[in-house]
Subunit: 335 residues, 2 copies
């Protein structure tokens, strides 16, 4: 096929084959200027069953030897355990994209990856996805354009992996799924042009579906959940005990989404109201996040072609870089 990179496809690899890695495998198949070289796993490659039969699986230990066959490595590990180390390791030999989403540690992660990528001559785009990612972009656009006002981010309704994990760590909990649900009244108030001060409880509520082990007291588990510091104590939390079967049947989907809203003001007396709103409603959080990663893999490739290097975030990437066509087509058809 013809594209703007001298008729070549962008060759990507996937590191880690969980839900996110599978999402990238699917996403690459939708992008005709991108080709998947293979999946790199810490497990025994022979035990991995990929979604597409044609997808090759390699040991993660063989990745470095294939550095000349891969333009961008898409890292699909978790923020808690994998990415802080993997992004640094892979940026030595590859252009990389990661979805590092521990907000408080982003500055540290950026510096660490930047140092390696600058010295190895690669591009490393970190914290790509929808939050951090598209939501971050909208917070920036909204506030830069309307400096007077207030920005609100709401998540859900959708499953919070962190909160579900926190419940699972309680003694007597066999499994659990936690939904974060935005408070509709709060969103409506902001949409009407108000700038309310909202507590955590006024923005989101939490609903937990828990599978308890027989021998444990449910009231005690419930108490531990609703009073858990950081995670639940500041929210209205509902806890439902259900069977393992029901949990798998009804709560294994990975839908998510949310809103970024800015209520802003202009005018001589700052009395002209504007509402800026961005929202996502996603049936699959990992499949959508993977689609954002794939689009930014294209940007990493284009940036590297131009000689850029070092760590980047979505803020540093001109939007045209994620588009598969030419800039003149873009101006003609999208502007």
């Amino acid at each position: 096929m013809t594209n703007i990179y001298n008729n070549k496809k962008i060759r990507v690899g996937i590191v880690g084959y969980g839900n996110l890695g599978k999402g990238v495998e699917l996403s690459v198949s939708q992008n005709h200027d991108i080709a998947l070289v293979g999946v790199f796993t810490r497990r025994n490659p022979k035990t991995i069953k990929t979604l597409f039969k044609s997808t090759k699986v390699f040991s993660i230990d063989d990745a470095d030897a294939m550095k000349n066959e891969i333009d961008v490595m898409i890292l699909c590990g978790g923020s808690a355990t994998d990415l802080l180390q993997q992004s640094i390791d892979f940026a030595k030999n590859f252009n990389i994209i990661d979805s590092f989403d521990t907000h408080a540690k982003i500055p540290h992660h950026f510096s660490a990856v930047n140092k390696i990528a600058l010295s190895s001559g690669h591009i490393a785009i970190i914290s790509v996805g929808w939050d951090p990612g598209l939501f971050s972009l909208n917070r920036l656009y909204a506030e830069s354009i309307l400096p007077f006002g207030a920005t609100y981010t709401f998540w859900g309704d959708g499953v919070s992996q962190g909160h579900s994990d926190a419940i699972r760590r309680i003694d007597g909990v066999e499994d659990a799924v936690q939904y974060t649900i935005p408070i509709q009244e709060a969103i409506d108030t902001i949409r009407s042009g108000e700038m309310p001060l909202l507590s955590a409880k006024q923005k989101h509520r939490r609903v937990c579906f828990v599978v308890a082990e027989e021998a444990f007291d449910k009231d005690e588990i419930k108490d531990k959940i609703v009073n858990m510091p950081d995670y639940f104590i500041d929210y209205d939390t509902k806890v439902y005990f259900i069977s393992k079967e029901e949990l798998h049947e009804k709560h294994s989907k990975m839908k998510h989404g949310g809103f970024v809203l800015r209520s802003g003001f202009t005018g001589q007396n700052n009395n002209t109201k504007h509402i800026y709103e961005f929202s996502l409603k996603l049936e699959s959080n990992p499949e959508f996040t993977a689609s954002v990663l794939t689009a930014y893999a294209r940007a990493a490739f284009k940036l590297r072609l131009e000689g850029a290097k070092g760590a980047k975030t979505v803020y540093d990437i001109a939007p045209s870089y994620i588009y598969p066509g030419s800039n003149s087509k873009l101006r003609k058809e999208f502007l």
Copy 2:
């Protein structure tokens, strides 16, 4: 004040002092890293009453002599009559921003301005605002991330200047205001995850408030409106005849807004649905558009500091350029 440009403020000028120019005057006052040098007008400067007493007014003929005092000239003329020529003229001596919004002529305008800006060593960001502008960005982000799907743009409800002007050109019409109103059912259908094929009539309806001259037949005027090719014939159009006083009293606000929606699909059988939505609800179209222009004036200044030149659009500008703070602050507080 301290900022990232060596403690200097960005010095901007405004060319043209209509609603948009006034909006920029207001917007600059909200941005502490930007200073307004003055307004440049084709009228006699002595006849101009600015919103702020401190705003200086100059003749447009004196602009070139002040080229060393202005970092970015913000062009606030109209697309139909002014910008095709003014952007070229001013790009000879200034970095410029314009809001050129005649979609079909953007490629031509880009080339013409690019040629001048490259040879004069300036930055010229064209077609800045919300559509073209923020809506264009969202069409790009949505489609690049979700290549399978359909994107829809809805405008309104708000006043269309072009349609109002078209009515005013009819014999016997003294004044008129035309509202473009999106069809709620169409938006709801897309939000539910459908990808309907929508005709013009199924996306928007048009409501016209018309002041007719005594001597003319209202039914005839109405016929001419609803059957006007390009503007009205493909839509459900309602026409109301009202008095001059009522038009001024009830229909002189310049509210506008709209939606960009993408219904996209991922997954092995493309059966995972995602809804991407961006919307604006603006009490003043010119004040908001002006706020976008001011933010991109900052980007023009930063780009020029780095040595960039030539014509650009919002697609070519990394988001961080419109932000007044440092990139590390941005990563820490917004990502």
